[in-house]
Point group: C2
Amino acid sequence: MADMNNGTDKLKNTIIETFGTPCAVIDMDVVEKNIAKAQSLCCAAGLANRPHIKTHKSPLLAQLQIGAGAKGITCQKLGEAEVMADAGITDILIATNLLGAARSGRLAELQKRLPLKVCADNPVSIAAYSAAAASANRPLDVVIECDTGQLRAGVETPTQALELAKLIQADPQLNFAGLLFYPALDSWPQTQAFYDELKIKLAQLGLTATIVSTGGTPNFINIGKLSGATEHRAGTCIFNDRMMIQAGFAALEDCAYQVYTSVVSRSGAERGIVDAGSKTLTSDTGGLADFGYIIEHPNARLHKFAEEHGFLDLSACNDKPHVGDIVRIIPNHVCVSVNMFDQLVAVRGGEVEQVIPVTARGKLV
Amino acid sequence: MADMNNGTDKLKNTIIETFGTPCAVIDMDVVEKNIAKAQSLCCAAGLANRPHIKTHKSPLLAQLQIGAGAKGITCQKLGEAEVMADAGITDILIATNLLGAARSGRLAELQKRLPLKVCADNPVSIAAYSAAAASANRPLDVVIECDTGQLRAGVETPTQALELAKLIQADPQLNFAGLLFYPALDSWPQTQAFYDELKIKLAQLGLTATIVSTGGTPNFINIGKLSGATEHRAGTCIFNDRMMIQAGFAALEDCAYQVYTSVVSRSGAERGIVDAGSKTLTSDTGGLADFGYIIEHPNARLHKFAEEHGFLDLSACNDKPHVGDIVRIIPNHVCVSVNMFDQLVAVRGGEVEQVIPVTARGKLV
């Protein structure tokens, strides 16, 4: 670390000569610091940590999270859960209505192997889970997803949640396991009111929510504010990105994931092209201006994509990049960029440490 | 086909029970019609057809294109070319500055196996190609990319192109193979002027552009308008999408690619959620409103994405979908959606015919 620039140049050469560009690189020192921070925030709030693996899709990184104290993991796809189960992870919550996987028989197959926790916000999902559990010959734990203002998935009222809890309670194939929340940053008071009302109604049925889960990396600012919560699930915090910087959760040095790209064209005086476009960083702006932050040229604007090209507006750069330069990009939204790569190159102290397969990438069902 | 609706329902059941959702489905009758149309348009203009495989990334579909008369293929990544070479395809143009792959040694490795055509718009790429060709012990054919107003890759003037041609001519490892254009829809006159001026200057060096390539599916409207062109490369036309409908090239029935999704949530009266989000269809709007066309509910607006969820505004739908319904989505931009899937389910006459691997997906270098 005596000479940061030389160390960086050496690593860039190693990356391009070994892997080519574009290349997804994670700094393991930063990854471990980020994992420890999430765990510590959960512990301080008295909550279990159930990281969402949609960000990294890697069993190896999930194992690091569990090794640091996570109780289990959250998945968004059955295919992700299959990959994590293959790696020996046993405490898995799948945080979505899994109709597509349930009706293909794959949910039942995995439920035969280990007891899953699944999620529902409607009777059709519950019926599909019942059939899958019967086929697996093992009851499924079901949590009810509740929406408290985001207008995402989730029932909108405690009464609707209660109706689903009754269906679960009445079904011998299903266990009522709890509640899933994803409050907007400013809707935690409504979430508390929703939960408090529902808790009383559930008690009247003799039901208790063993799991009361909150979610989201930006919501670490609110962690523990829901009285009764038992665990938190956050994904992005393992790597961070421009969105998390914008949310005030992370600084540039907390961004573990960088895409190493080559400047491949400089046909105009004020413009350039890198070899990372919408098939590398994706068109997801995360509500921010432009598509990423270029570490070497903070004033360069990555303002447009072709599929394999990123277009740079260099008009505000005094020091403009040259063709052949390797420039590192911090994406707006890291989860969708990781999802474009089959592997992450893990580095530490300026050296390549290992190649981590993104094993659950592309597991769309 | 006697009862279209029953046939569709049967196929939907087969798809979800066999594969789950979301599922990428292509109708082979439409694919074959689209392949024939592109070939026929090229033939009518007296041009060779060199389809761009970035859209399908499948050797099997590339072979269908070659079987229908295509002279060879266009790739955008070396990794795509590797996959196509593995499948026995020998006439491959890689239409980009390949610095990342050249410097990793992979370009030389593939050039050892078969003679490639590569593309440059700057001296750094040419130097990298020279080194790769020397390492492969086989000269590389290089085409010069020319920009005639799109502000994408490509030199901006005939003089710049000529300077690169001189570098190629002076290098014993390289052969000058021709010129690559991607004119904007309305810049074909400028493209003609660019080419005419350059052709004379090249002749003064004793050089002839054996390949003069135009590109783009929407540019089929202009095909043959560049006097001197020898071939056309187009990708999207094999499947088509909402962008191609918008461009006037295709109608709904020409869209071969549909993503079968499940409606997984209907928590609000005027809203719903399908199990395809930005990790399935991508956030690339292609400049259009919303993210896709829902065949069963044309008035539903797919207006927002989470990573695995697509949010439907149903306020304009009289007949609203129910949880569990399978709805088919034609994406705005098919190339980036295919790129999210490891396989395409090929159907014909309402029956599943085969599963086609998207073998070159994720080949980012």
